[in-house]
């Protein structure tokens, strides 16, 4: 045989060709399989359908253990646009009882949504009824790409306390950006404890991993469910709020703008946190949430604005006990020090008006009669005491530090969102607005009687009442008594001791008791309940004076401390005192006496804005409402030339 050795070498060319090719292929395999993880993700997103299982949101109970907020299932129709195949739209629409136009409109809306993606679940129809759900579930196999997700809606067993309870809403992009727990379509707490206790209430979502074939058919559970995550139900909340008291508070505040804060002094637990006007929490639930929310936002009386913790008002005469305490602590006065009152404070060419009572008088009667002149003299003496303080600035800083220690000027730290800090000026503030060295005791004298630049929230005023009731300390006010399964949050039961010695508080208690038995708040003198109180009539640049009451009872073993703040309702005694008395009676006696009931009915019929202050017609209501909005901001109000507060 002829063997051509020259040609035999060509086996190397042929063999070399396939060797090189195989090496290229192996390199390619390496790049695909080891070098790039995107294929793994692609394969997983192909094959695995992650179905989220929503946990049951924590329930909310009130002080008496009554179930207030619970869950109700609702069903959302979802679609993954890329998985949708041509389907019988007529059948689909009939099943859900919508028109084809409605369906097309919904799809159009969905596509315009900010989080729209053809590859993820999009909400097509939220909150369909259980009947529609049942019908659609039967036929769902005919509509590939459509899913039903069970959601949880909140159900409220009360019509009050919306500001405390809050509500839930669908998450927005910013929620998703801030916390990667959330996915589009999830719900999150909004306002109230729903917001501040979101982390406990929401529980933890679970997931079920399903296997999906190329046609979108579900072929079973991945790994027999071993990789599924069981949802963990949210923790229940036990509120310190007494819903009966809350409801009564909202009833008696009807027609008035303002707030009631009732605190159990020993524990800092808030018994009632009323803001008025308010709304039924059920309004912000379910399908109509959007419309109702818009209406509440548009309401000129701002029902969404929680006046009890967000509004910063001039505290008026309820501020006087703090002044007495500071003067005693600083040695400016003692219990026998008396100041003259000639129907007001007249000095340095200015006058702060007062009303008829004996003169001169010492501290306790000054509290009893709410004498303006006494506290003006006191503040003047303190600020002008050059033996003790080098300058007015230094004196005022001392004053301010005492105020802050009593819970003013900063947030108290209530476990609700959007608390306001009120306003306590310092010397730098006056240097700025009046000019350094250009202000004296006279120019800021109205601070002594809770006017001037001073602003406080009703919560801060109630907290002062609790501090006095406790004879010198307070616990951070809070609305949640216990997170079931977690306990009490340390932050909400912290004890604070103001920089005032405890012995000075007794004189305040006595002064306030005298005010009830024979002073400005005789209207709160409930037999056997030993109410102590202090009225306030706060001037403001927005119309009639605000009516304020601060008190606690019983005197010897206080169970409730309260602040009532009614905007533009005149003297403290006209609205705030009777409302305070009704609340104290209800809480301490468990129910109202027939006289109390009559007073409650009368109060709830008294209106200070819808008919009187604000008029009935729309054009009139608008500017007035604007004014109301203004004064509730935390910016200082400048209302000088102050006259009487009672």
């Amino acid at each position: 045989m002829r063997k051509d050795y020259n040609l035999e070498k060509r086996k190397f060319v042929i063999g070399g060709f396939i060797v090189v090719l195989v090496m290229i292929y192996i390199a390619r395999l390496f790049v695909l399989q080891v070098g790039d993880s995107k294929y793994k993700e692609n394969a997983d997103s192909n094959a695995f359908l992650e179905k989220t299982i929503y946990p049951s949101r924590g329930l909310i109970y009130d002080r008496r253990g009554k179930l207030v907020v619970y869950n109700q299932p609702a069903y959302d129709v979802m679609m993954i646009p890329k998985d949708v195949q041509p389907f019988d739209t007529l059948d689909f629409c009939q099943t859900l009882q919508i028109t084809k136009e409605e369906l097309l409109r919904r799809i159009e809306t969905m596509k315009k949504g900010r989080n729209y993606s053809a590859y993820t679940q999009q909400i097509l129809l939220p909150h369909i009824s259980a009947q529609d759900y049942g019908r659609l579930q039967e036929k769902l196999y005919r509509f590939p790409g459509f899913y039903i997700v069970q959601r949880i809606l909140r159900q409220y067993d009360v019509e009050c306390g919306a500001n405390v309870l809050g509500n839930i809403r669908e998450v927005n992009q910013s929620d998703i950006d801030h916390d990667d727990y959330y996915r589009p379509g999830d719900y999150i707490g909004d306002l109230g404890v729903e917001k501040s206790y979101e982390k406990w209430l929401r529980g933890r979502k679970g997931k079920e991993i399903l296997i999906r074939d190329a046609l979108g058919k579900i072929k079973g559970r991945y790994n027999d469910g071993a990789n599924d995550v069981t949802p963990i139900a949210g923790n229940d909340l036990k509120l310190s709020i007494d819903m009966e008291l809350q409801a009564l508070g909202e009833r008696v505040m009807r027609g008035k703008m303002g707030a009631i804060v009732a605190i159990e002094p020993k524990t800092g637990e808030i018994l009632a946190l009323v803001t008025s006007p308010n709304y039924d929490p059920s309004l912000l639930m379910g399908k109509d949430r959007g419309n109702n929310y818009a209406a509440l936002i548009a309401d000129p009386h701002m029902p969404l604005f929680d006046r009890s913790i967000q509004a910063a008002y001039p505290p008026g005469s309820t501020f006087k006990p703090t002044q007495g305490l500071i003067f005693l602590e600083e040695g400016i006065i003692d219990l026998t020090t008396a100041f003259p009152c000639s129907r007001g404070f007249v000095s340095g060419g200015m006058r702060v008006g007062c009303h008829g009572h004996g003169s001169p008088i010492p501290l306790k009667p000054a509290i009893q009669t709410s004498c303006n002149a006494y506290f003006c003299w006191g503040l003047k003496r303190m600020l002008e005491n050059r033996k003790k303080y080098k300058s007015i600035s230094e004196a005022f800083e001392v004053w301010k530090r005492h105020m802050v220690s009593m819970g003013y000027g900063y947030k108290l730290g209530i476990d609700l969102p959007h608390e306001s800090r009120g306003f306590i000026p310092n010397s730098a503030f006056y240097d700025k607005i009046k000019g350094a060295g250009k202000w004296s005791a006279y120019s800021i004298i109205s601070d002594a009687i809770g006017q001037g630049e001073i602003l406080a929230t009703p919560l801060q005023i109630a907290n002062l009442a609790a501090t006095i009731a406790n004879r010198g300390y307070y616990i951070t006010p809070h609305v949640v008594r216990e997170i079931v399964g977690v306990g009490v949050l340390k932050k909400s039961i912290e004890r604070h001791d103001p920089t005032i010695h405890k012995q000075y508080y007794d004189s305040m208690v006595e002064g306030m008791r005298m005010a009830v038995t024979g002073g400005t708040c005789r209207g709160a003198n409930l037999a056997g309940l030993e109410v102590c109180g202090k009225t306030g009539t706060a001037q403001n640049p927005h119309g009639r004076d605000h009516s304020v009451f601060m008190g606690f009872a019983p005197m010897s073993d206080p169970k409730i401390a309260i602040c009532v703040y009614a905007e533009n309702s005149g003297f403290g005694a006209t609205v705030a005192v009777p409302v305070g008395a009704i609340m104290i009676e209800k809480y301490l006696r468990g129910q109202l006496s027939s006289g109390g009931e009559a007073r409650a009915s009368h109060m709830s019929a008294t209106s200070s804005y819808s008919t009187k202050a604000y008029g009935g017609s729309k054009p009139a209501a608008k500017p007035a409402a604007k004014g109301a909005a203004h004064q509730t901001t935390s910016q200082p109000q400048h209302s000088h030339g102050t006259t009487a507060t009672k």
Binding site: M1, V13, I14, I18, Y25, A47
Partner: protein
Amino acid sequence: MELQQQNNEGGSNLLRSVDWVTIILYLLLIVAGAVSIYAATYNFDKSSMFDFSGFSGKQFLWAGLSFFIGLSLLLIDRRIYEAYAYPIYAVMILLLIATIFLAPDIKGSRSWLVFGPVSLQPAEFAKCATALALAKLFGTYGFALNNWKNYAIAVGIIVLPILCIILEKETGSALVYTSLIFVLYREGMSGFVLFAALCAITYFVIVLKFASVMIMGIPLGIFIVFIIIMVLTVAMLAFYCRSFELTRNVLVGYLGAGIVAGVLAYFGIVINGYAFFFTVIGVSMLYLLYGMLHDDMRKVLLTIVFAVASIIFMFTVNIAFNNVLQPHQKTRILVTLGIEDDPRGVGYNVNQSKIAIGSGGFWGKGFLNGTQTKLKYVPEQHTDFIFCTIGEEQGFVGSTIVILAFLALILRIIRIAERQHTTFARVYAYCVASYLIFHLSINIGMVLGLCPVIGIPLPFFSYGGSSLWGFTFLLFILLRIDADRKSYGSW
């Protein structure tokens, strides 16, 4: 030594002289193939690997039968194959032609003959017949690829089944026969043909891939190919014609022209690309025609022919591409070249196949744990795309082992080929190797997204009796011939 073995020819000798390496590789691949089919078609309801109503059960059945076929083939006297090579070829060609008319239309192709429950694809068996005929031709005393007539006969033997199979609308299977160009090359065809084929593919890919970017007023693809042609011309002058003078002059001319064009472009004067290249190459060709007078006339002429043919080919690529190929074939090529992206349409198979393989990672997801293939994201996963299942479940390690096993088999067959004492045996062995090279490179290349999607099976792995039996015939006839290699003188 050789004489002694001749005398011992018999059954026991067959066992000793048969190439066990090939048999073991064959068995490994065939079992791995059937197991892969089981994995690819695994369903949650069906769990038995040997259920004969399922794909894997059937494949095991085909595999079992192919053992018998293989054993029978080993027992047949190898002289039969050489003696009857032409009749077998003739019968197969007739069968292929008959198939065009008899076969039902299955997915647009008329290549399957249906006998009750069994369907056979004659094209798979025609490979074996063509290999035998080609081997017989080359084995004929005095035959050599040294004149046009012999070339024509050899090419005719290859082209005849191609034409028949194209008429059956089974283009993929038809293209397999082009791999026999390796056999012609091994048996004396000029290496220049192989080189030209390589150039043609390169030009084709480059012209299409860079068709959209313009430079000097012409598409970038054409620009690049012009440069390649110039480089190759210089290289041929240097290494093929071995003419220092011609190489130097042409090289200096090309570089000078390039520098002039570059400087002009730097000053903002852009010459039209066509004008530039036609002038420069045209002048160089005229110079080479003159140069033929001094140097090896034949070799310089070939260089000129190469350059001119390259340019003509380059310009016909676009026309041919747009007018000759079917739309779906065009799209497949464009998708493979990365020019078109169409993951939901034509690119779907390849995209899902890449996802399947890519998701396997280094060690794979484990047997029966592949999601891409189980959930039918990869179409044709038990036939043409069977390699996806291996890639996904066995990972980089498993896929590499499979590819290396194929490489070992091919190299083993080349080794067998080279140890044959007859031209018939050697040519036949190279035919087998060529078929395997083509199937392996195109099938795996397609699955990896490196080649256009051409529907041909992966030998021993893809589901189907015809393919399996076709390769069994090819391989066991080779083994039988190889086992007898030392006794060639006995008849």
